[in-house]
Amino acid sequence: MTLYPALTDDMRRGMLQTMVLIRTYEEAILREYHADKSPGFDIGAGLIPGEMHLSAGQEPVAAGLGLHLTKDDALTATHRPHHVAIAKGVRLREMTAEIFGRETGLGRGRGGHMHLFDPETHFSCSGIIAEGLPPALGQAFAFQRRGTDRVAVAVAGEGAANQGAFHESLNLAALWKLPVVFVIEDNDWGISVPRAQSTSVQSNAVRGAAYGMPGIRVEDNSVEGVYEAAGEAIARARAGDGPSLIEVHTLRLWGHFEGDAQGYRTDLDGVPGRDPLPTYRNTLTAQGVLTDSDFAAMEASASELVEDAIDFAKASPTPSPANALDYVFAEGARS
């Protein structure tokens, strides 16, 4: 029995559309990020300052997951959050405004690209490796205690799977049968450290057994593979049968962060050929599910949404320095 809908052609096109939207978004951020940092790259300068971790190449993880989630489900992401945020339905304008550090942003410009919080879609992220996992447990705990069938998805990289928080979180989630799905994005690299130099096993999927939870690895950055694996796991969680672990072998198409020359990277030549976007486009085209004009339309609507969000961000006011100390606490000392 399948516990989730079988993929229809519409859903396939929908996943590709999401992938296109994400890629279009990351290309636009890339453009805006570098637009005003030269001459001589200055990380702190420009309309988008600071570290920038883009998710190009990892769209299949987001698109495959997104179809299964409603806005009432929770998702915690990492320092590389844009793709899953978009697939989760985070408001593009407010997210972009936050990345531009504007008062209209999700965090009024206080958080930034690694700290996107959207209560409407129960989305959050953290810049500390693996530390986004424990809060997802708590969201799942609240969902469970209230007798809902809502789930929490916790996303982390393969490098994060060697952090203590990963272990503690999987054990606790399994012990309490929390409705959580752990998704490991294996993009082969943790900054400059290849997976083989960080991880003592070939696949993190085997680590599920250490907690008595199902563990599965999706190969080839397959968006449909992610859809199937996530479908199983999320249905399981909604049914009250507890957490699952999914590892997806995905691709870091660009540098770890912008400005990363990737001199350490031995696999660069093979990278372009592994780009999941043309791959999935060609698959759907070959299957007769997608025409060139369909794809052109996808690109057009994606550009429209993205440029609208960028325009919104640029047109938004910057936060007033006078208010820098606001929002430390929700309330003064109560008296």
């Binding site: 929770a74 942003g105 209230r146 979180s169």
Partner: protein, 361 residues
Amino acid sequence: MTAALPTAPLHTVGPNLAVEPDAGTRKLSTAKAMQEAIAQQMRTDDSVFVMGEDVGPYGGIFSSTTGLIEEFGPTRVIDTPISETAFIGTGIGAAIEGMRPVVELMFSDFFGVCMDQIYNHMAKIHYESGGNVQVPMVLMTATGGGYSDGAQHSQTLWGTFAHLPGMKVVVPSNPYDAKGLMTAAIRSNDPVVFMFHKGVMGLGWMKKNRRSIGAVPEEPYEVPIGKAKVVREGTDVTIVTLSLSVHHSLDVAEKLAEEGISVEVLDLRSLVPLDRDAIVASVSKTGRLIVVDEDYQSFGLSGEVIASVVERAPGLLTHVSRVCLPDVPIPYASQLEYAVLPTPARIEAAVREAMGGGVAS
């Protein structure tokens, strides 16, 4: 673990409560006062639950949760694995979804295995979200030494928590404040770290000061977070202190009163927010300031108190000294531990020195 609770409204702070009402005559230990505060809030707010190591049938290693599992059952009083990062983070996530977790970190000394969740998440999410996400959570933790538990189980560390922005920090010294501050902490929409000294809990198996048992009103009430209290009025010397050291300071003040030395004792009760006005007000009367603190001396509470006075009233101080834990890991042997703790003897010597006009070293 699957029983469903009724959904509670997000971030309710419940009905208005009395603020620092008359203490009445009923006496409780600090531990019982904490238990009562938690139980009363659990009765009126289904979103409140307790989580931590040995908080269930054991009742908390230092009796902070005795009796709760019997009344509220294992779905609301939850024993955890030894996974502080995971269960404190679970509290954070539950708070984000509108629950009100009371999470126990068994000893503050253990912060090193879970501080990221505490200071980079619990404390920062509200600010990073521009006020859109609240984290109404209480992190309670046992602190302090004096019973030879060694360098890893005797620290107070409140200076470490207070230095890092985004979390309120309260440190009650007696049963009345413990109940009122715990009630305020649970009802607060901000994360509150509630640090209780083992020596003020009134435990049967540890040396205790008579003030660890005191009058506590039965009905729920609040002690405001961020308000210090003059627990003894005086005119010659101001002792600014907190937690167990309040008891020692009062003992010394009583003794020296017989010699005509008038010591004012200010119990900070909260470190974040810090009631600097109360500190300055007291020193304005006495001109002499002694900070008594069981935390490590340097880069912490004692320096902040002194600096806060000097910033606000540069000429005010005629004398200042500190009676703190020197910058040394806390030794095991009693003879050594009591040589570094802020004992009544050291406090008394500091007061006498202050009256002599010199500067304590």
